[in-house]
Symmetry: C2
Subunit: 306 residues, 2 copies
């Protein structure tokens, strides 16, 4: 580590807020945080230039936001509240210290908005693309985790927000659905939940596989985003295709027993709409088109460009 990196770490120590829950913060061999209940959620996710955003297609601040927010979305999909984060950044050799600070400010923008404490990290310069790895801890506040494997035959399948076309910008600026995930966990007890990162079709298949069930998805009820329509104009594919396959929506996909789903749909308690888009069946995965015809729902979610 060179002297500039020590300077940067000193700056980060000042920029990152701490409170009594952070017993030892940035600057020692490890951080020490006050754990919450008897168990802790933990998740880790990378954001990589050229994989998760186009080379040069995002500012350092946007990348920092996204790196933190992707992990918040994962904790939310378990029904948890994000608490403490560490971040490791492999910076391209051409980056200035100002670029690095912008990246950290993006991490902190998101951390501060969701009450997360950044308590440690690692920084190095490399000849490769920018890679930011965030590891996030989370708290279930005494509730059971909401797994992918809990979907039951007869459940309603629901989704927050609208889907498709995230590459037009939402993938850098999405707001992870922590408030919605917490409210669902506290008041509606979803049987299964996942966040849509790889695409509605792929992530639904992840739930179906883990739960050993099937699904009928109602194409006419899938909420299409304006960006799905804009992306369709450019691609020549349908907005529905974009909603099924694009991914990086970071909306919550979950299942509820039908009575609870009815209450939730009537309540619409969130800032973002909730829609039922299908139902859980014993096996198979079908897409029901508006004309009533069916076709197999392939798990052709958006695949990262690896």
């Amino acid at each position: 580590m060179n002297v500039k990196e020590f300077d940067l770490i000193r700056w980060i120590r000042r920029a990152a807020p701490a409170d009594a829950s952070v017993v030892v913060g940035i600057g020692d061999d490890a951080a020490l945080v006050r754990a919450h209940g008897p168990s802790t959620l933990v998740t880790t996710d990378m954001v990589i230039e050229g994989v998760h955003f186009a080379p040069g297609g995002a500012t350092p601040r946007e990348v920092g936001w996204k790196a933190m927010a992707r992990n918040v979305s994962d904790i939310a999909a378990m029904g948890g509240r994000s608490t403490f984060a560490v971040a490791a950044a492999a910076l391209p050799r051409g980056w200035s210290e100002a670029d690095a600070r912008e990246l950290v400010l993006g991490l902190l923008d998101c951390a501060n908005q969701f009450g997360i404490r950044l308590v440690g990290g690692d920084i190095a310069a490399t000849p490769g693309p920018l890679i930011v790895t965030v590891t996030l801890l989370g708290d279930l506040e005494g509730r059971p985790p909401i797994l992918r494997s809990g979907a039951r035959v007869g459940d309603a399948i629901l989704v927050t927000g609208s889907l498709g076309g995230s590459l037009l910008g939402k993938h850098l600026r999405f707001r992870p659905r922590q408030a919605e995930g917490l409210a669902l966990a506290e008041r509606y007890a979803p049987h299964a939940m996942i966040d849509i990162s790889d695409g509605l079709a792929r992530d639904l298949h992840n739930v179906l596989d883990a739960s050993r069930v099937g699904a009928r998805l109602w194409a006419a009820d899938i909420p299409l985003s304006d960006d799905a329509r804009r992306a369709a104009q450019a691609s020549g594919r349908s907005p529905l295709d974009h909603a099924l396959g694009d991914g990086e929506d970071y909306e919550l996909l979950f299942t509820l027993d039908p009575a609870t789903a009815g209450v939730l749909l009537a309540d619409q308690p969130f800032d973002v709409p909730v829609a039922q888009i299908g139902e859980v069946t014993p096996s198979g995965a079908l897409l029901i088109l508006p004309d009533g015809s069916e076709r197999p729902l392939e798990p052709s979610g958006w695949e990262h460009a690896t």
Copy 2:
């Protein structure tokens, strides 16, 4: 993520042992682990091809070991026991699935030896160098953390093992000093502790800066490794220079009150020798040479090749 990566994750799920402490392991949006006491240590560290090992200079299995072991060393330097890990791997595009499995086996070799559960991760292929980021949780088992900032004037400065020349091989095969760190924390209550990653001189300065004290280091008492002597023959520098500056020794550097240090030095309770190499003073940092002359101890520890 492509289908092969799903296969790899399925393989990792089978390869990674779990136990009752892992409520939710690999394969959901986040892991859920049973936390230990009221607080949790957390640390994150990258291992990067071309920065932490020469391009092509380590097998995937060695890189996996090192990525886990570096973090174990950090938790040990707080006086803690490592518990749960997540790992994110950015793999070069040319890597085969067999290479990726070898990397995971290296991570698991180290995890299993130290009783750590690998509970989650992220994998992607990139055009850049191999980067493995491990985040590790640790448990203090009710003891206070041992910080860099606790050194007191009059303390003895001690080190485990021998130093220098780690690039000849030890940097890939070191055994992190978890047993020694735990025994020190339980029975000798070090005032300050750090693991030597950046070099004895640099890491001692890190302790001195954090503790706002100085030191006199006795050159004749610094334990030189055989590799420090071999490296010196090749470099034309002295073995002492290598011991002061090379870094990546992953030995523990710590301070004790002099009476306790006397007991520890007489006990020699570890598989690896412990030596006193100096004493804490009110200010300044001096190296005392064998002829009794003094020179300033520069913080010229090994600097990562950034």
